[in-house]
């Protein structure tokens, strides 16, 4: 199969859906050509579909998200882009009090079929306001769905599912994965929301990892298998809401050990949710305490050396795995 970038896979999904459904349109900052968004994801789309359907907005996050909500209520399927996930804080009322709750408050009369794409994560020396992993905020709000693809294949299939989904979906891309390449079919396909993917089979320890931590963990686990004979099973939930608890719990029932790896800060993070689920549903299967490997509870600093120190790296993940299997 041909290999394309994570960025290109996302673009392909957007393009397929815009061709397929005239109500799909894009709205966000600097999406039009020649720029195509800060990370170049929408490059070419305004030229192909016109600036009516690839809409360049003012720097107004509340307006971008609110506009998407209003258009969705009036029958459209907008895909909003928030340039950096951090900036969503400036439009948070629209996400939390509006998008997430309108269907419920209406007694099920209306849906809010919007996708909010945003680039999260650290790695570009962009410091504290352009580097956060904020997924836990959204996981905590009933009414939202939260998707974090870790491969080009998943990005394309999950975004297609998100655009076709009747509910508001926060689609968190990782800015350091846009150049990652992987096999992606040319035709359209859907990966249902709520289906985890076992990225590596193993018997000794389960590792639940999200987003950029998935390729990082996979590089490490192959090495551990080759060098130390430790066969880790790597589960990527892919969607945090809805969460495929079954795949995670069944994996731990097989391996009896769990390490959770995410880039977001540890305190109040998604890892705590996974640990709690497994602690209840697979309690008798566990042979070791559940460990979390996450960023330290600090803002993200500017200096690359400091930034790298905070985010889980191979050394810290390996230490946790060895401690768990010891």
């Amino acid at each position: 199969m041909r290999e394309i970038q994570y960025r290109e896979a996302i673009r392909e999904s957007l393009r397929h859906e815009m061709l397929r459904d005239a109500s799909v349109f894009l709205v966000g900052e600097e999406l039009i050509d020649p720029w195509g968004g800060t990370f170049g994801v929408t490059k070419g789309l305004s030229t192909e579909f016109g600036e009516e359907r690839v809409r360049n907005t003012p720097i107004s996050e509340a307006a971008i998200i609110g506009c998407a909500i209003g258009a969705a209520l009036a029958g459209m399927r907008p895909v909003a882009e928030i340039m950096f996930l951090d900036f969503i804080a400036a439009g948070m009322d629209q996400v939390v009090n509006q998008a997430a709750k309108i269907r419920y408050m209406s007694g099920g009369q209306v849906n809010v079929p919007i996708v909010i794409r945003a680039a999260g994560g650290s790695g570009r020396a962009s410091a504290a306001q352009h580097s956060q992993s904020l997924e836990a905020w959204f996981v905590h709000i009933p009414g939202l769905k939260v998707v974090m693809p870790s491969t080009p294949y998943d990005a394309k299939g999950l975004l297609t599912a998100a655009i076709r989904d009747p509910d508001p979906v926060l689609f968190i891309e990782h800015k350091m994965m846009y150049n990652n390449r992987g096999p992606v079919p040319e035709e359209e396909y859907v990966i249902p929301l709520g289906l985890a993917d076992v990225k590596r089979r193993g018997r000794d320890v389960t590792i639940v990892a999200t987003s950029r931590m998935v390729p990082r963990v996979l590089a490490l686990t192959d090495k551990l298998a080759a060098e130390q004979g430790i066969e880790a099973e790597v589960v990527d939930p892919r969607t945090l809401v809805p969460l495929d608890r079954k795949t995670i719990v069944e994996s731990v029932q097989k391996t009896h050990r769990l390490v959770i790896v995410h880039e977001a800060v540890e305190r109040g993070g998604f890892g705590a949710e996974v640990a709690s689920i497994v602690g209840v549903e697979a309690f008798t299967s566990l042979d070791a305490p559940i460990l979390r490997v996450a960023a330290a509870n600090t803002p993200v600093p500017f200096a690359p050396l400091l930034e790298d120190f905070l985010v889980p790296d191979e050394r810290r993940i390996e230490e946790a795995i060895l401690e768990t299997v010891a």
Partner: protein, 345 residues
């Protein structure tokens, strides 16, 4: 003051025909319905028959009636926490509105929304809103959808004077302006943002001046005179429908009650004389005088309309009281429109 154009960059403002007798009477009925409905809400709340948080618009009825008389069923409406009047004027069922406030399953939102969050898709009501100014950007989105489809729908978004100081107001107005969206923003300036008098929250008394910053028409009108409201709204709605873009209307009006029914004080530093002075220009009384003076109706005709309104409210209360409560476990419904089987919520 009938109406004042603060800023109107578009030449050739459409002229408005004076509404015919049927339309005049319909607007009066709407105002009488809203007044009866909300006066009953106050009684029901004070006697403990309904609960929650209620923000009534008693004293402001001409704004809802005069604006919504210009709308079609498929036009869109967004409003604020003080939206009962707008919702009724846009055509929502009074029975189901009352049932919503009685927290019954037959309510417009199956008792999930309540007073501040009424949505009635069947008549284009996209949402009242418990968050001040949040409807302003949402209205922009509805206007964008209308513009992209090109079917001539318009959006009306009501907001209060307090909303004019919120960031969402600016972001939404600017977007509506730069994209020339078919929206009429109606600021009901009742002089108080919750309890805070306008002199403490905005330097100018004339909030409509902000239209200048967005380079869109801004029109101010007497919110106690339903004909003045009708006229400015009619021009703004027609302009939007014809592709002329958004308008900001400021209606000078007044609420007789406190911010919410339960509030012990009406506002900070609000003198009784001010309330009395505004009551002399009560929107129903002002309109009644006009209708009688013009020979359109007699005082008896109008009294009959008010009796019918009261009877309609009686019917709505009976409907609500005889409706079932929601089943407790239905609280888990409708969080999502689609959810994978076997995955816990």
């Amino acid at each position: 003051m009938a109406s004042t154009e603060v800023s109107d960059p578009s030449p050739g403002t459409p002229t408005v025909d004076v509404p015919g007798p049927d339309m005049l009477l319909r607007m009066y009925e709407t105002m009488a319905n809203i007044r009866s409905f909300e006066e009953r809400l106050v009684e029901l709340f004070n006697s403990g028959q309904i609960g929650g948080v209620l923000h009534v618009c008693i004293g402001e009825e001409a704004c809802a009636a005069g604006v919504c008389a210009n709308l079609r069923t498929n036009d869109y409406l967004l409003t604020s926490h003080r939206g009962h009047g707008h919702v009724l004027a846009k055509g929502a069922s009074m029975d189901r509105m009352m049932a919503e406030l009685f927290a019954r399953e037959t309510g417009l939102c199956r008792a999930r929304g309540g007073s501040m969050h009424i949505i009635d898709r069947s008549v284009g009501i996209l949402g009242a809103n418990g968050i001040v100014a949040a409807g302003v950007p949402i209205a922009a989105g509805a206007g964008l959808a209308a513009q992209m489809r090109g079917e001539g729908q318009v959006v009306v978004c009501f907001l209060g004077d307090g909303a004019m100081n919120h960031g969402a107001f600016h972001e939404g107005m600017n977007l509506a302006s730069v994209w020339n969206l078919p929206i009429v923003y109606v600021c009901e300036n009742n002089l108080y943002a919750q309890f805070t008098p306008q002199r403490l929250h905005a330097k100018s008394e004339d909030l409509v001046k902000r239209a200048v910053a967005y380079d869109i028409p801004g029109i101010q009108a007497d919110g106690q005179d339903v004909l003045a409201v009708y006229e400015v709204a009619s021009r703004a709605v027609e302009r939007a429908r014809a592709g002329g873009g958004p308008t900001l209307i400021e209606l000078k009006t007044y609420r007789y009650t406190g911010h919410a029914i339960s509030n012990p004080i009406c506002a900070i530093g609000r003198p009784d004389e001010e309330v009395d002075a505004w009551k002399l220009r009560d929107p129903l009384r002002v309109f009644e005088r006009y209708l009688i003076d013009q020979g359109i109706c007699s005082a008896d005709d109008l009294a009959a309309v008010r009796r019918e309104a009261a009877a309609r409210v009686d019917t709505a209360v009976e409907f609500a009281e005889s409706s079932p409560m929601p089943a407790a476990e239905t609280a888990l419904e409708d969080v999502y429109a689609a959810w994978p089987e076997g995955v816990p919520l």
